[in-house]
Amino acid sequence: MPSQLIASFQINRLSILAPDGQVDESLMPELSDSQLLQIYELLCYTRMADQRALDLQREGRLGTYPSSLGQEAAQIGSGFALRAQDWIFPAFRELGVMLCHNYPLELIYRFWTGDERGQQTPEGVNIFPMCIAVGTHVLHAAGAALAAKYRGDDMVAAAFLGDGGTSKGDFHEALNMAGVYKLPLVVICQNNQWAISVPRQTQTGAETLAQKAIAHGIRGVQVDGNDVLAVYQATKEALDRARNGEGTTFIECETYRMSDHTTADDARRYRDPEEVKKWQERDPLLRMRRFLDQQGLWSDGDQAQLELTLKERLTRVVKAAESFAAPNPEEMFRSTCHQLSSRQQEQLKECLNGRT
């Protein structure tokens, strides 16, 4: 009985759609032409909505904003696979995921102007408030998954976080809980290679982020995060397994943060423009468009038409977002607890008496 092999593990990477638009037919997910078009439109909508947010911020019409430029496939691929009854626990950069699930864009813009009402998720939409405290919300998804399991609900919880988030203790506590209780949970990592100025290889010594699943006895996979079909397929598989009682999957989507961390950041201080260029060639939208071209599903005319429609939609959205009345300070008090303490009542009076 010498040194003896007692366990071995493998991490696989899934990619389906190549930068040139070619797909691996053997892996092609079951998606109708109209679904493929829907996905592409969501990719475009996400990018345009993001660009619009950046413009608004530059004009002082939005606060600090984190761009999702470059991560559209990782967001739409996963968001599109999730069902309406599944619960979504976003970080703060999941614009595309939220748009997939009809979270009103005007609310998202509202939120980034510094208005809590932007996080008043509409009834029927199962999206948790965005989480600013990195990595802490995966536990909430685990708890919701355990609750759903207890109730027998047909629901899978999906948590999104970044590469930086995988260094937080809470992330590991969540994955460990998921492994112990075999939770109906999917944890989707947007590995965009950077946590503000900290590159992926300073974030962890692990060769892949996907292998972090091994520590907790759950399944871990890596996908090309700029390949919307691979992300969709990996998420779909993870959801099916979760529903079949096969527990949690951790998905690492390898993508790239094409913008600054937020509008308050200047990435030129710490990152090589060459690297950014390299990733431009792997653009997730271009790739999908080439594929649709080759399938004869898409033309320049369609593209022009789509952009026109989306532009108009965005104009309406911005109008809606900016026509909100200013928030009432009473909100601060009313939403702290379900009732006001006697001191809070006094404070509310003082506040409204406009000493400010």
């Binding site: 919300h137 998804a141 708890g143 919701a144 609750a147 809980m177 601060m332 001191r343």
Partner: protein, 320 residues
């Protein structure tokens, strides 16, 4: 009515909550087969099974974080943290999320979560097993903090905490777990959150205490005409009862075991100094733990308030 000690009353409340509301479930370390290190969940695993009495891995942030997800999803989780000293790793989840989800979503979501945890000194336990850092939680809007002092209010407060739509920290005075016994009504009942209790009416001075110190104060003040207020809810505390008593007596003594500086006694004194100072005949005295790192058992009696220190403060106040 059965005669129960404080931990049995907590056990009874949990049992009734579990029976009457299937949204209620318990999670924590060693709460299952073991019945909790103080036996607060004794027998519940056998009655309700591992689907509702959930033993967790050793991860306090994980316990509270998961409970938050459950609560927002629609359940009424009751999380046990084995000792208050092990709530520190969960403070981020409590302050960053439990306290803010209602405000963050402007009421779309709420977090009806109860965190039970044994707290306080006087039990000769190892390091971190005798913390009384209740004040930390009273400075974070969005959460409530309650502390029972008798078996009957232990039961009523716990049932009220479980019914409350906001997160409630329920602190259990370990020194009293088996010290106090009394008749406790069998049927479920609520002890309202936010209301203090006049443990003894009096005229000459007001003494404010909670949890384990209340028991000490009752003994120390036996021979004085003191009005003794059992705060019961630390956040939001019952300003009206406090101020009314001070206006009557004009003298105030606050007793807690936590370190003096920044303890909850400071807020009570400040409130009086801001809102009832004109009724005061004497300085507002605080008898508390000292500003020291909590000592181990051999020295703990030198740190915790004693009847002697309380009596000395009473005598001093009565001289005014």
């Amino acid at each position: 009515m059965a005669v129960l000690n404080l931990v049995q009353a907590i056990n009874a409340a949990l049992q009734q909550a579990l029976e009457s509301d299937d949204r209620v479930l318990l999670l924590g370390e060693d709460i299952g087969k073991d019945g909790g290190v103080f036996r607060a969940t004794d027998g519940l695993f056998e009655q309700f099974g591992d689907g509702r009495i959930i033993d967790t891995p050793l991860a306090e942030s994980g316990i509270v974080g998961m409970a938050i997800g459950m609560a927002v999803y629609g359940l009424r989780p009751v999380a046990e943290i084995q000792f208050l000293g092990f709530c520190y790793p969960a403070i981020d989840q409590i302050f960053t999320h439990a306290a803010r989800i209602r405000a963050r979503s402007r009421g779309r979501y709420s977090c009806p979560l109860v965190i039970r945890t044994p707290y306080g000194g006087g039990i000769k336990a190892p390091e971190l097993h005798e913390e009384s850092s209740e004040a930390l939680f009273c400075h974070m809007p969005g959460i409530k903090v309650v502390v029972p002092s008798t078996p009957s209010n232990a039961k009523g407060l716990l049932l009220a905490a479980i019914e409350d739509p906001d997160p409630v920290i329920y602190l259990e005075p370990t020194r009293l777990y088996r010290l106090l016994k009394e008749e406790v009504p069998e049927e479920p009942y609520l002890t309202p959150i936010g209301k203090a209790r006049i443990a003894r009416a009096g005229q000459q001075l007001t003494i404010v205490a909670w949890g384990s110190m209340l028991e000490l104060v009752m003994r120390a003040a036996e021979n004085y005409d003191a009005e003794i207020i059992d705060l019961l809810t630390l956040s939001p505390f019952d300003r009206e009862t406090l101020l009314a008593s001070v206006q009557k007596t004009g003298r105030v003594l606050i007793v807690h075991e936590a370190a003096k500086t920044g303890g909850l006694g400071a807020e009570l004194a400040a409130t009086i100094a801001e809102e009832a100072i004109m009724s005061l005949r004497a300085p507002i005295r605080r008898v508390t733990g000292y500003d020291v790192v909590l000592p181990l058992p051999l020295l703990e009696d030198y740190n915790l308030p004693t009847t002697k220190r309380i009596v000395a403060a009473i005598e001093e106040l009565l001289r005014y």
